[in-house]
């Protein structure tokens, strides 16, 4: 869905119609990662560090959901007719390695998974990355003689040696040929077919490392325009670059920074670091998630964000504690709905928020955002935040089905799938 020239008011109105006609209520659908759950894989349900989910991604059709783990394992689930997901296959993507030059261990944790956008019916490709190496796997079904169908996963390309610092994201270009991999200070442009060369397009490393003040936290290619990409930094800035304008994209075309940020003080920089940023599927907007808020920007206006969703204000009084237990450094992800109408993000106490992102957030308590708790039905009720804040239970990883209202959440070593309740929907909404 390519939006070229939509009047903002029209869009807002359309969005609000949508919100009125479709409720924002979400119900538990299934859980995975638990021993007695039918869809679980061989990963044990013991809550150990290595079984923690580290990334979650749906493919372009929503038919597959890939889950990456700290231990380097990737589990692929596939959608059934009843909208639940069953285990399709699993494989070890990365092994831990030892970097002899720095005497440091390279973790096998999967930082990000992305599905190749142009996949055959018969075979899919998915890209996984750990801190240093990007890999592209091919996955296909093989029916052997005796009517059995196996799912085979083979490593197809390995892109290594491109990064000195730790990779935080990968993103495919809409041309089906290029992709970028991003680490703390650099963004590299690769051709899918060539693993021996890469081109550095963004480099924010200062000549003197003592002058380092800013690192890159994530990046994303525009879903339709092959030349536009964004990257977000620890200073709370999102920069947009046009690869057509020049070979090196260090000089950004646009810069989105919310100068109005009220907090100030010691914690200001820590909470304004952006943990996740994405273009909306329609390509017209982008969302940035920092510790306390989500901000939606109209890509045509850099002056100020269009919407600022404050949903973590209850954490402000506790910032000291959160700093001491390191939770202030948690990197929460966010996800757009397939129709670019809503945004999902996670929080503590296994809570997650779904915002009608183009609704009204000007007042104090907004009705445009709902919160839910990721848990088996009947297990737990919603917490009152003023009393207990459980920082060990957090929904860090999120994903939204590209075409349906199904969301996937990763909370430590458990994954949850929630579906929107459509009982009270009044009409079929077509987003133009």
């Amino acid at each position: 869905m390519i939006i070229t020239d939509v009047n903002k008011n029209d869009w807002e109105q359309q969005a609000n119609n949508y919100y009125t006609n479709t409720g924002n209520n979400w119900e538990f659908s299934q859980m995975f990662g638990e021993e007695d759950d039918a869809s679980s894989s061989e990963i044990s349900s013991e809550s150990s560090e290595e079984n923690c989910i580290s990334s979650l991604t749906f493919d372009q059709s929503g038919r597959f959901l890939a889950v990456g783990y700290n231990c380097g394992q990737v589990v692929v689930l596939t959608q059934q007719n009843d909208q639940t997901y069953q285990l399709y296959t699993e494989f070890k993507s990365h092994d831990s390695a030892f970097d002899f030059l720095t005497s440091m261990e390279i973790e096998e944790k999967i930082n990000m998974i992305k599905w190749y956008p142009f996949s055959n019916d018969k075979a899919q490709r998915l890209m996984t990355t750990n801190d240093k190496t990007v890999k592209l796997f091919k996955m296909w079904e093989h029916s052997s003689d005796d009517e059995r169908t196996d799912v085979i996963v083979r490593p197809w390309k390995t892109y290594e040696g491109g990064h000195v610092y730790n990779i935080n994201s990968v993103s495919f270009n809409s041309d089906g040929q290029l992709f970028i991999s991003t680490d703390d200070l650099r963004i590299n442009l690769w051709d899918v077919n060539t693993s021996t060369e890469t081109f550095g397009i963004v480099d924010i490393k200062p000549d003197n490392m003592d002058d380092l003040v800013e690192v890159i936290t994530c990046s994303d290619f525009h879903p339709q325009h092959c030349n536009v990409l964004i990257y977000a930094t620890s200073k709370g800035i999102v920069r947009m670059s046009d690869m057509r304008a020049s070979a090196k994209c260090d000089n950004h075309t646009k810069e989105f920074e919310d100068a109005d940020s009220e907090l100030g003080g010691f914690f200001h920089e820590l909470v304004s670091t952006i943990s996740d940023t994405h273009f909306s599927p329609c390509g017209r907007f982008l969302v940035s998630r920092d510790y306390l808020t989500m901000k939606v920007w109209d890509t045509r206006m850099e002056k100020e964000p269009w919407k600022v969703v404050k949903f973590h204000d209850h954490l402000i009084p506790r910032l000291c504690d959160l700093y001491e237990n390191d939770c202030i450094f948690d990197k929460f992800e966010c996800s757009w709905s397939g129709n670019s109408m809503r945004v999902l993000t996670g929080s503590y106490n296994n809570n997650f928020y779904i915002a009608d992102i183009f609704g009204d957030f000007s007042g104090g308590e907004s009705t445009s955002i709902n919160s839910f708790t990721a848990a088996r039905p009947g297990v737990v009720n919603q917490y009152d935040f003023s009393s207990q804040l459980d920082c060990s239970q957090k929904v860090v990883h999120t994903a939204w089905h590209p075409e349906e209202d199904i969301i996937a959440l990763g909370a430590n070593d458990f994954g949850y799938l929630y579906i929107r309740n459509t009982e009270n929907d009044t009409e079929e909404m077509e987003i133009v």
């Binding site: 296909w140 092959c226 057509r244 070979a247």
Partner: protein, 591 residues
């Protein structure tokens, strides 16, 4: 495993005639878990096919292959290669039976496999008779064009041009229709394939058809959203221009747009092809159109584009008048020579000298020489090297005197550069410089430098310096070497640092190949023999090695009287390596 595989192959060859069993063996091999065994089975496809004979191959083996395409890319590639060997076996009137397997292979995602399958299809097609083409190839193309998966469509783009060349008018029309649809496909990679193949299709079409049918498609592809599609418009432009000429408005519009494209990569591609374009145009169009665009590229905001155009300056200059060069190009060149990006200056330096022969002596002195002199002082060594590389173009026109002073200064600077790779490079250029400067100037100003290099801190530089002396001696002759080099080598042999004494030994080795017997006997060997008493064992065993080489260049008497005694003495040396090399050398001497 190889042993097992060869048994199977033998079995099969002996079983010609027992078709079912042969097929069964092959089928079993293709089911094994071990990829290596499957790969080997495929590699022996011709053996299997020969055993089966043409008919059984067509009716059983080929259909069977269709079922095992769910495999590793390496195996699929092998299948494609092997199938191409089966044309004779199935019979030239039956080559169409090979097509189904290839059609499937042409739809896989791995580009290498897909491209190979397409290649084989085209080679089969080229040998086919017209009737088979109509009944098999055209339907194949139709299927590929209408396929669901974009990979088949990519292959279709590649097959259409050669098929077009052999089709009747009605079929040609349909193929162009197909091609146009592919060029408008919603998947960018299909459009990219179409853009890539357009130039090939153009090669088979006549002018009218191109103008009527293909220009609109060419225009659309050159204005596609995707950079990767537009960039191919550059090559399509030159292909079309060579048929249609330079006065077609639609063509000029597209080329103008490509020159101004928003993406620097497209402008870069235009800069790389601007000379080809220039040649295809008449002088008026060159002056009025191509030159103007080229001038803009030289001033482009992106350094890569400026560098690419800097490399084409002389190529463009060839196509326009001298006055035009002076008026239009040289002013921009003056700006490029101080460009802030060193790669732009370097690109300029690699081409600028080529302007000299085009402009003639007077203009050369007035405009080019100052440029060259300035670039010779550039802080980036690549710039200086690129100038030195092409100096002969200038000296051919105006002689060396104008440049000599600055040139020598530049050489000395490079020779003292802190980076050893730069020092090596200038040493490698020295023979060229020697021939340019002539013996007198060279001896006066640079021969001392050549000797000094023998004393460089870095071994590779010392080694390059030795070899350099060899080349210079070849250039200037033995008497010159006698006067200028050999005395210095003798001095070096007494240096207090053993590394420099070693260097003198090496230099003796390299020089001996070209100096005369008087020098060898009178100077070189005595020098070497003298070092047999050196305190450092490395020197002593290198003496053995050197003497071994030298013994081949003198008569046997000399060997007996001068070389052997020295070696025999070293046979008793306290160091083991010295004794070893001494005995080795003596063995060679005795042969």
């Amino acid at each position: 495993w190889a042993h097992i595989v060869s048994i199977i192959v033998d079995q099969i060859s002996e079983m010609a005639g027992e078709q079912e069993e042969v097929l069964q063996i092959f089928a079993d091999e293709m089911k094994t878990e071990d990829k290596f065994l499957r790969l080997n089975a495929v590699r022996n496809l011709s053996v299997v096919a020969t055993a089966l004979g043409g008919e059984a191959t067509r009716e059983h083996l080929l259909p069977f292959l269709q079922e095992v395409l769910d495999d590793d890319d390496e195996i699929l590639l092998c299948i494609a290669e092997q199938v191409s060997n089966l044309t004779e076996l199935v019979g030239s009137e039956n080559t169409h039976s090979l097509l189904p397997v290839l059609e499937s292979l042409a739809s896989v995602e791995e580009n290498i496999v897909r491209a190979k399958a397409v290649e084989v299809i085209i080679s089969i097609f080229e040998e086919m008779d017209s009737e088979s083409v109509n009944s098999h190839i055209f339907p194949l193309v139709t299927r590929m064009v209408g396929a669901y998966w974009f990979t088949s469509k990519k292959s279709a783009c590649e097959i259409i041009p050669p098929v077009y060349s052999r089709s009747d008018n009605e079929t040609k029309e349909k193929l162009v229709e197909y091609f146009k649809n592919l060029a408008e496909d919603e998947i960018p990679m299909v459009r990219k394939s179409a853009a890539n193949e357009l130039k090939n299709l153009v090669g088979f079409m006549n002018k009218n058809d191109i103008v009527e049918d293909l220009l609109p498609t060419y225009h659309d592809l050159a204005h596609d959203d995707q950079d990767s599609v537009r960039i191919l418009g550059v090559n399509n432009s030159t292909a079309i221009a060579s048929v249609v000429g330079d006065d077609n408005e639609a063509l000029i519009t597209v080329i103008t747009d490509l020159f101004k494209d928003k993406s620097w990569r497209v402008r870069y591609a235009m800069a790389e092809k601007v000379d080809v374009l220039c040649e295809l145009c008449s002088p008026q169009v060159r002056q009025a159109f191509v030159l103007r665009r080229f001038m803009r590229l030289m001033k482009d905001s992106e350094a890569e584009v400026r560098a690419a155009s800097a490399r084409k300056i002389s190529a463009i200059a060839k196509g326009i008048s001298v006055e035009s060069v002076v008026e239009n190009i040289l002013p921009i060149v003056d700006k490029l020579k101080v460009d802030e990006e060193k790669y732009v200056r370097s690109a300029l330096a690699s081409d600028i000298s080529n302007l000299a022969p085009l402009l003639g002596g007077e203009i050369c002195v007035q405009r080019i020489v100052p440029l060259v002199l300035e670039l010779l002082k550039d802080e980036f060594s690549e710039v200086r090297f690129n100038i030195i590389n092409n100096l002969d173009e200038i000296t051919n026109i105006i002689g060396i005197e104008e440049l000599a002073q600055n040139l020598l200064h530049a050489i000395v600077q490079l020779a003292e550069d802190p980076q050893w790779r730069v020092r090596i490079k200038i040493i490698e250029y020295t023979p060229l410089l020697a021939s340019l400067l002539g013996e007198t100037t060279f001896t006066e100003r640079l021969s001392a430098l050549c000797i000094a290099w023998l004393g460089d801190r870095v071994f590779s530089v010392r080694q390059a310096a030795s070899e350099n002396l060899h080349t210079i001696t070849q250039l200037f002759g033995i008497p010159w070497a006698n006067t200028n080099i050999i005395p210095k080598i003798q001095e070096l042999a007494h240096n207090s640092n053993y590394l420099y004494r070693m260097t003198s030994l090496f230099t003796v080795s390299t020089l001996c190949a070209i100096v005369g017997p008087e020098e060898i006997q009178g100077i070189m060997i005595p020098l070497v023999v003298n070092m047999a008493n050196d305190s450092v064992p490395n020197i002593r065993f290198n003496v053995c090695k050197t003497l071994q080489e030298l013994s081949l260049l003198v008569d046997s008497n000399y060997v007996q009287n001068e070389i052997k005694p020295c070696l025999t003495q070293l046979l008793e040396d306290e160091d083991r390596d010295v004794r070893y090399f001494a005995s080795l050398a003596l063995q060679k001497c005795n042969q």
